[in-house]
Symmetry: C2
Amino acid sequence: MAANLPVYVYMDHSASTPTDARVVEAMLPYFTQVYGNASSAHEFGRKAEDAVETARETVARILNCQPKEIVFTSCGSESDNLALRGAAWAARRGGQGNRLVTTPIEHSAVTKTVEQLAALMAFEPVVLPVDREGLVDVEDFANACGEGAAVASVIYANNEVGTIEPISRFAALAREQGVWLHTDAVQAAGQITLDVQELGVDMMSLSAHKFYGPKGAGVLYVRDGIELIPSQSGGSHENGRRAGTHATPLIVGLAKALEIAYDELDAHVAQYRTRRDHLVEGILSRVPGALLSGHRERRLPSHASFVFDGVDSSRLVMHLDAKGVAASGGSACKTGNPEPSATLLAMGYSRREAIGGLRLTVGRQTTEADVDYTINAVVEAVEKVRKLSGELTV
Amino acid sequence: MAANLPVYVYMDHSASTPTDARVVEAMLPYFTQVYGNASSAHEFGRKAEDAVETARETVARILNCQPKEIVFTSCGSESDNLALRGAAWAARRGGQGNRLVTTPIEHSAVTKTVEQLAALMAFEPVVLPVDREGLVDVEDFANACGEGAAVASVIYANNEVGTIEPISRFAALAREQGVWLHTDAVQAAGQITLDVQELGVDMMSLSAHKFYGPKGAGVLYVRDGIELIPSQSGGSHENGRRAGTHATPLIVGLAKALEIAYDELDAHVAQYRTRRDHLVEGILSRVPGALLSGHRERRLPSHASFVFDGVDSSRLVMHLDAKGVAASGGSACKTGNPEPSATLLAMGYSRREAIGGLRLTVGRQTTEADVDYTINAVVEAVEKVRKLSGELTV
């Protein structure tokens, strides 16, 4: 993409990925040719319905579940909302527990939904501690589930620091207590297993645009037997779990993208790892005082994240942008009013450190040259930001 | 579209429309080239954000409102959910009225959401009567708004019978009582005015795939000053009103489709009207006992709907499909277990009549030959269904 810059390196694949050309090709007929409403009882409707159901089978195969356990949504945030709201409301209606067990390193679609359920409907949030690497404590989790939980939600791989949680252990503990476990697998998809039998989760959220699929398409896996109350009500689409006309092209695209991602998983992951390791090594060795945030081994293959003490990450991202590198801060950079990252604070970093988070995430098109360019840009940008802000390097 | 039939005529444009080729062309670069997350603070993000904000300005121009009053959603059902839930929860939080005022001819996204709010949160539904033509009584509406209403929702043009409600009168009455009025304008878009100043509504739902845009994209207009509580919470997208990564291609496509629909409105509407009138005249004159349902004049230009006494509409739709005509019944045809249409029942039709609804909706590609073919197919199919079911014609 020409950005009026001689070089522009995209290092923000955790924020979004380009749609694979094969995915676009697969979607195209569903805009102009197979345009029926998948709920219509005629040839045009049936063709659309066939495409939706074929996509559902593809997704189910990769998740190792039944097609009827797949709910198509419009994005990962919607999936998180449906899981949390749907389970909490069902628990309320069933006279079950009132607690919503979660962690301080969830995506905002989980955090804010729990907050709203607490504010509007008097649910009780329980937020578990995490350690310095971003791992949630297993014992704390078991205890929290034992005390009247309606639902628990633990992120599979964190978006900011890339740490992969031991989800199968949480799932086993939740099941022992009869508590449903939801996991946000939005960042994990396309990099690690999504086998729900192996993971043991009851609900799992995915978002297509994180694995080279289209924006506007998500999945919520819901284990057979769980009856969620729909958070988007209306027509009886998706077995009454999500109202709204099926977005046939997007659903087809999501399935195609997931299929490609898992057919080609080993090759992509190997390449991510090589590039990412090179990036981490370069930055840690050349930037004074740089720390790798998150877990060193238990992290997403594409994901590098750092803390630069004394650096305001929103400025750092701005300087990197000016140098032609698309990166992401740990905090809400766009406001221009940097807040420390809640994730880093929860992990035990100081406020000063928690303002200095940087995320760099490689992708399929990332080259060695891109990585070298990025390392140099980060070295220069950190130095510049430190100099401008009058901070001393460590 | 080849449907393995010598002729296949699509007469179900109210269910969905093909995406305009110009819309597809406008969307394409946003899949593979401008693929940044519109929330990202770098060049890739800004380009996506620019596209989203340009689309917002286009939509606002056609609705005659401010860009900030436009909320992009994933579909019409989501827009309806956000309007109803968001307003009801806000009213609850603000200690305002508890009643949800609506009609028996709303889309299920309104009806089912009101039902759920009543069941889960003890809101009180008030369902107003409609007359034989599907018009909601203005006086009843005024009375209902005066008695502690949280929000009112009246469909702009009904999906089943095409009747256009006098929305501006309801809006004026609601405003007098300080009640927010939402309208579902999903069927109206691309056929009649969407000028929210002229209509006077506080909230209005649109769905792109009804006006030759992509499936998976909707709009909720929310008048400045109304603070909805988000029904999909998480990130601060859409000014905190709808969390979830912007689906840039779909948003661009929605705006392009709306622009085309209103740039070319007069020509399309004139053609819809000609084809539709021909269709209505042909069917009423040739099918014994056929009735036009809905209002004769105050109806959508593309929309024809009938009641055939003694005919099970799900069978009729099946026979029409076999003859190569895509049509829609008034009832939930797909189940094979015909229920009378709630809309027709509310309008005063008998149960026997309310099973015999048929909707035929013309579109941009509908030709005179298509209409002639459809008339013949309906004549034959009604005769066949009546013969098979042993019913006498009227």
